[in-house]
């Protein structure tokens, strides 16, 4: 940051269409954010200093985000970090973390954001309890989970197509099935698969969800213990709210397709799934351009493809580009296939599509990009601009 703050301070008078509330899922990511803020001329902070300093930072805006639509619309937003320390996502810190999300929400309201997306644990903490947010004036909040569900479902369908699998003969396991994202995925995918296995921590919620599906004629098996299912799953969605990547799947088919849609990631790095096709789900790509000021490209969106963002945050962006400032996703139990279709359509109209599929080892589809994802009705002849600046 240079000597003058005037240019940034002056920007406050510009309308804020959307705000994105998030937090870093690892200390490495947090270190990278602080390194950008310190600037290239200063030595990056040592890890121990980062762990000492970050928990004291109050929630606040980190950067401005300008986005564009393929339809020519533009929107301006803010990324607000709640600065929840990556090692304090456990239940023991829930009250402290809710307070952080509330303060971040207050920052968004103060900035005059018209719509706010709650990323990562932010939505889990507030989910279904929007009255816990500060007084809102004209600001609306969305968990963003409907678009996350849309991208998870699209990802599963695409991965099945890439692997030559027949989804309708698959056994689908959803871990974290009773959560907002998990239950949304169940409702979308249950009618398309052969068999459904649902896992979650709370058995009562599982029973309620199973009853809802059985009313629709879907055969469902539920268990709180992943080892207790009678069959091996060959399509798995991990959508549990875990504080760290600690999930060991156990009974799944050796060549299962596994979508890790958690933030932080669900799957333990020690999970042995030799022939499984694991990919990170719930991600979309904004093809009309995205620009951070200061430049946090590749830092706030740590993906091997440009302009890839979690679906929950993209939902707020898509709605802002569409000028639909409404609380589209409000928490547990409201995500239906119809709402998923609706947000998919809105997102696609603004040039926001399923991101290329990848995992920690790399991409499943080098050479493809968002223009070829989740889109059937537009010309395939012209590649989208990859140069963000060119959009502005």
């Amino acid at each position: 940051m240079g000597g003058s703050v005037a240019s940034v301070a002056g920007e406050r008078t510009i309308e804020t269409d959307f705000a994105l509330i998030g937090h870093q899922e690892s200390w490495r990511a947090a270190a990278d954010v602080l390194a950008v803020l310190r600037g290239p001329e200063r030595t990056p902070l040592p890890d121990d200093e980062i762990k000492d300093i970050l928990p004291w930072i109050p929630p606040r805006p980190v950067c401005h985000v300008d986005i564009g639509s393929v339809a020519g619309a533009k929107a301006r937003g803010l990324y607000i970090d709640s600065f929840i320390p990556p090692d304090r996502l456990e239940a023991a810190y829930v009250h402290e973390n809710i307070a952080r999300v509330r303060k971040a929400a207050a920052c968004a309201i103060q900035a005059g954001a018209k719509i706010v997306s709650l990323g990562g644990f932010s939505s889990i903490l507030i989910e279904g309890n929007f009255d816990q947010l500060p007084e809102r004036n004209d600001t609306v909040f969305t968990t963003g989970n409907t678009l996350t569900v849309a991208f998870i479902v699209q990802g599963i369908q695409k991965m099945c197509a890439l692997e030559g699998r027949n989804l309708c003969r698959s056994t689908l396991l959803i871990v974290g099935a009773t959560g907002d994202v998990g239950s949304g995925c169940v409702r979308c995918l249950a009618p398309l698969v052969g068999r459904v296995l649902l896992s979650a921590r709370k058995v009562e919620r599982l029973r309620r969800l199973a009853a809802e599906l059985q009313d629709d004629g879907v055969q469902v098996e539920i268990a709180t213990d992943l080892q207790r299912f009678s069959a091996e799953a060959d399509v798995v969605i991990c959508a549990a709210s875990l504080a760290s990547p600690s999930l060991l799947l156990g009974r799944i088919a050796p060549d299962a397709i596994v979508c890790d849609a958690g933030y932080p990631k669900n799957l333990s790095p020690t999970a042995e799934m030799l022939d499984a096709k694991v990919f990170f789900g719930g991600l979309g790509q904004i093809t009309g351009g995205m620009k951070f000021a200061p430049d946090f490209h590749g830092v706030l969106n740590r993906h091997p493809f440009p302009d890839v963002v979690h679906g929950c945050l993209l939902e707020g962006m898509a709605l802002a580009l569409e000028h639909r400032f409404e609380p589209f996703s409000q928490g547990r139990g409201f995500i239906t296939p119809e709402r998923v279709d609706e947000i998919e359509t809105i997102a696609a109209r603004q040039g926001i599509y399923l991101a290329p599929l990848y995992n920690a080892d790399g991409s499943f589809e080098d050479g493809l990009d968002a223009r070829w994802n989740g889109r059937e009705d537009e010309s395939m002849g012209e590649r989208p601009s990859r140069t963000v600046e060119s959009s502005y």
Binding site: M1, G3, S4, V5, A6, V8, A9, G10, R12, L34, L37, R38, G39, R42, L45, P46, E49, D52, I53, P55, W56, I57, P58, R60, P61, V62, C63, H64, L78, C107, P294
Partner: protein, 252 residues
Amino acid sequence: MEPLIDVNCSPMECTSLSRSAPIWQDILAQAMTGELLAAMNYTSLSEICDDPAEVADALEHSECERGHAAVFAAEGRKIGVEVCNNVDAKHWKRLRDAFLRCITERDFIGCLIVQEIMLESFAVASYSRVGNVGPGSLGESFARIAAEEGEHVDHAMAILRAERARDVQRFDDKVYRLHLDVMTTLAQMLAKECKDGHCEVCHASCVKPSLFEVSLSAAELRGASLQQYLKTLDMLGIPGEVTLAWVAQLPV
């Protein structure tokens, strides 16, 4: 000097305090030095005020800070230690010099920013933490003085907000310039380890590695101080993304 123990202490407190008294001695010395420096700053400020009410206000604040210094000295005596002070210690002197530069420029607003926003943020936050863990009246005194210093900040805030409203760009540029000067020094003072040698206030070796013995840590005091500073800047209305970068760029 062998610490004496307050005769009113319980046997358990006596044992505990005799072991930790040298730590409290250094904590009190830093606090007392800060209060005396603040008193000097307010006296200097009174000399550039045109409005008699402002002169009176500054002198009253100066007296108040001297009173705080006296309280810290008295708390030291209660646990049997002599609390020294050194306003010429290297970090404190640099902070005083930064303030005096504002005085030389007859920059009343600059003085308020240095004293009320930067130095008081540090005082309020660190005294509050010490107040939480300090034994008996020592802890109570830190907590009470933290609250009083907080009132000073509130008083200045109205003046500073009004000044910012007049010219946002000029005001924020001024805060940033003073931040580079003052907060860099404070950050060095608050670093987990004193890398530049002895601070010239601690009575023996650096107290920071021993703070854990009284349930404190240098990292905690720094973190709380920077948090308070950021919150105070928020109250002024300076954009959070701007002040975040300022703080992230401080030395550690």
